[in-house]
Symmetry: C2
Subunit: 532 residues, 2 copies
């Protein structure tokens, strides 16, 4: 590996791979051996972003007049290209993230990524997502439409399925008809670059405007804030740390630009006494598997367990601590994740949590923290509920034990917004009153309520909500996973009032555009054409 | 009329009419004679808001377990009570706003208000609004649900149909299952108080929690910002001035609380040469009627007209100026509206707009400004597009004349977000290329695109979008008019994953809850029950 600007990787802006107007360079680290990886990626200055925005506006102008079929074809071509390039993508992502090549990257995440693309292609083609609504009496017709260039900031923990240029936000934005300006996650730039090369081919194959997809790797916080609040930006999708996300949110909010954020979540799991009595061993297995899966680096990782004091709880906790100690210690995604996880664990300990397992950084020569299990009482939690809700992103969890149900309810009332909340309760009906109270409180705080199930594993279903009240996300009405609903984030509602029939979007004309598109006509959903 | 605190009107907080913890008092002005109206209304301190929030949280807890039938009954009882009290409502609103008793208040706005309530009742009962989505394979079911206390700040221009305790936002929030904390518009507090008295009766008749509806009249800006960002607040609906709205938006955004704003809009109308040639006289009549209706005090008032230079345009402008001069001068809603309209007109003149008619405040002994028509060139507009987009809320309009189509396109590109945009073009197909270009640019900037029609008159239709890109509103994906879509603003998406069937909300269980509720089951909309 050599240093020097001559090796700097190019950005993909305005339809060309070209040198960045760079203010510096960065390299990713292989978390499995702490070695810097060879390629140098540029820190773009405003000039790159400015050009990307102009190009995206022009691409959007062209996209608006293209048949949706071309967008669908792009997504399908891209999916096929990804499958062909599977080996190099898996290798790059493994090197940059430490995630296992198989089954995780090759057999789970990559198929999920291409499946999402094909679902988005089908959604774009059919048009159901746009919720065409027709009032024949008033002569008014409306639907959701693209809103312009979407900036996507992807997270570190899904180098494929939430990659800023291939993942959930990307496909939702593209399928809704928007160009995307992707900002790579700095911990896996090479993986992202590989995707961009494939996306570029897909764009050409489908005949989309070349600037429908663009890529920069990194920029200053100041320029990032300028990007999401620029008048040319339509909306932003961001998944990542709360701190960086809130800075972007404030900038976008000030400018009146929609921004969708997935920030942090501790995903509380309530386990009642009845659940322990009926199925304690099974719940323990499920929990250990869920909380340590992927070294705990899932947005829906169950990092907070709420239990009621009883001998079964003590036994559960003891066994859990042993399991944390004996489980293999996974590799964390990056030095930054290791640092922030260690800091979060230190904060929790500092607030008074007791260490049942782990808490230390082993000398492994890789990014890692010992599997960490912490415990506090509900009383302690209630005395400092903000502090005890510090997200420890990674293989760490906090158990909160309440003396009675009333204390448990008060803990639930103090919860911040979360993506998920799970309740394990007695198999029969003997705890239904307790369940109702817990569920009623928890449902207000989460996007997804589970019964007898751990929250990891987010099905790509139209019924999924991968969202939740602030600070889990920026708005409780939108989901980041689940096509077609996730597309609505990147759309504006447009109403056509008295617009001449041959000037309407195809979706709103009398004939059903595909013969199978769901539309709401005079209050009833139908796939039929209208008489005209 | 006497002064003194002993006459201060009570607030309705926590289910009781009680004296406010007031920091001062205010009186409304009769805009028809500039006399202060007798009743003194309190300026509430934080203590009132704090108590209202606590009571609303408790009301929400109770509402969550009540059948929706009770909410529907409340809305219907309330509508009937309003009709019974029609005379006193019309009298109070006329006195406080200067709007004509009939047809406007008695025959148009009051029936619209009660119709909205009944539509909201029907929507609550049927549940279609909640978009129940069921994935039987994944075992996941989701729908929109209430999110908690909604604060409603109503505007000055619809004392009934957008009243904070009876209008569009109110019924949408209530029908979605949320308690409402209403903040009266300070220019019609007595009208609002009358509504609150009726709402209180309706709450009791239907057996809703008493704090489902609460009313304060006014508060400091600081306490208003604290209210919308309080952790107990679910969301806020605000309609009013851009300045006050943005202060609330910034506070709510910082706290991650949804806030829906309707701020300002100049509602551009494009009139092509072909339209003038084919139907110039008819368009002139439509425009005069639309722009001066209600003394121009509609959110969709067509305050900006874009035309192309030609002899027909000059003739249109001349006739229009005469019509502005000869038309009767209406009464403005309040001294504040008169001041801000005069200031906006002064700003436009200061930027270089020429006065074709009006521009002065007549000595009428009431709130009024002469019907004001201003003109500038597209070149002038482009040199100061922010300044020339100053909203002059009231009976004033700006004509912008472009030398050619290219100049027109550039003006369209510079437009801010608006609620509506209208295009009048040739009757036949000879201007379709021009139309497509104009419509493509305009549709990106507006919530509702019209053909051959003025924007005033907002049908309460499921297909309506009374919304638009910032700064017309705070989010381009939501509408403030049109049930059931407007209810989605006051809801959170909640997903039930593996939740036991008898614990699901009725809306998500296998049997269709009403036999006619639309639900999306495995990708198809249906009103059928599921086999189980």
């Amino acid at each position: 590996m050599r240093d020097g600007n001559e090796e700097m990787q190019p950005v993909w802006v305005g339809g060309c791979w070209r040198p960045a107007t760079a203010a510096g360079a960065f390299q990713a680290t292989n978390p499995s051996n702490l070695q810097l990886l060879a390629p140098h990626f540029p820190l773009s200055t405003w000039s790159d972003l400015d050009e990307a925005l102009d190009a995206a506006v022009e691409a959007h102008r062209q996209l608006r007049s293209l048949p949706v079929e071309k967008i669908a074809m792009f997504l399908e071509s891209y999916a096929a290209l990804i499958e062909q390039a599977k080996e190099s993508l898996v290798e790059a992502a493994h090197e940059e993230t430490g995630l296992p090549r198989a089954p995780r990257l090759a057999d789970v995440e990559l198929p999920r990524t291409t499946a999402q693309m094909r679902m988005a292609a089908a959604a774009a083609r059919r048009g159901d997502w746009a919720m065409a609504t027709i009032d024949t009496v008033a002569g008014i017709r409306s639907c959701y439409q693209s809103l312009g260039p979407v900036c996507v900031f992807g997270p570190n923990n899904f180098p494929f399925a939430f990659n800023s240029i291939a993942g959930g936000d990307f496909v939702a934005a593209i399928a809704a008809g928007n160009p995307v300006i992707a900002k790579a996650n700095s911990s896996h730039p090479r993986t992202t670059q590989l995707f961009a090369e494939l996306a570029a081919k897909g764009v050409d194959q489908a005949g989309l405007p070349r600037s429908s997809v663009q890529l920069i790797y990194r920029t200053s916080h100041e320029d990032g804030e300028r990007l999401v609040s620029d008048s040319r930006c339509g909306a932003t999708g961001y998944t990542g740390s709360r701190h960086a996300g809130l800075a972007l949110k404030h900038a976008a909010d000030r400018a009146g630009k929609p921004i969708y954020l997935e920030l942090s979540s501790v995903n509380p799991v309530v386990i009642t006494r009845g659940a322990l009595a009926d199925a304690g061993d099974a719940i323990l297995e499920q929990y250990v598997s869920s909380v340590l899966m992927g070294t705990g680096q899932f947005c829906t990782n169950p990092g907070l367990v709420l239990m009621l004091q009883c001998p079964e709880t003590d036994a559960f906790v003891d066994t859990l601590a042993q399991r944390f100690q004996s489980a293999p210690v996974g590799t964390l995604l990056s030095p930054a994740v290791t640092r922030s996880l260690s800091a979060a664990v230190a904060t929790l300990i500092d607030r008074g949590a007791r260490v049942l397992s782990g808490g230390t950084q082993p000398e492994t020569g890789r990014c890692a923290l010992a599997n960490t299990l912490l415990r506090c009482t509900a009383e302690e939690f209630l005395a400092d509920s903000d502090g005890f809700q510090t997200e420890a992103f990674g293989n760490a969890a906090l158990l909160v034990v309440a003396r009675n149900e009333d204390e448990l309810f008060r803990v639930l009332e103090q919860l911040e917004g979360n993506l998920t909340g799970s309740i394990y309760s007695a198999r029969d009906g003997r705890e239904e009153t307790l369940y109702q109270r817990v569920a009623d409180l928890l449902a207000m705080k989460v996007g997804r309520l589970l019964n007898d199930k751990m929250p990891t594993g987010v099905a790509v279903s139209p019924a999924m909500n991968h969202g939740g009240p602030y600070p889990a996300t920026g708005h409780p009405g939108f989901t980041a996973v689940g096509i077609p609903a996730s597309m609505l984030r990147f759309a504006k509602l447009t109403c056509f009032d008295n617009v001449r029939h041959d000037r309407l979007p195809l979706l709103l004309r009398d004939p059903n555009p595909t013969g199978k598109t769901w539309r709401s006509v005079d209050g009833a959903w139908t796939t039929a054409s209208m008489n005209h």
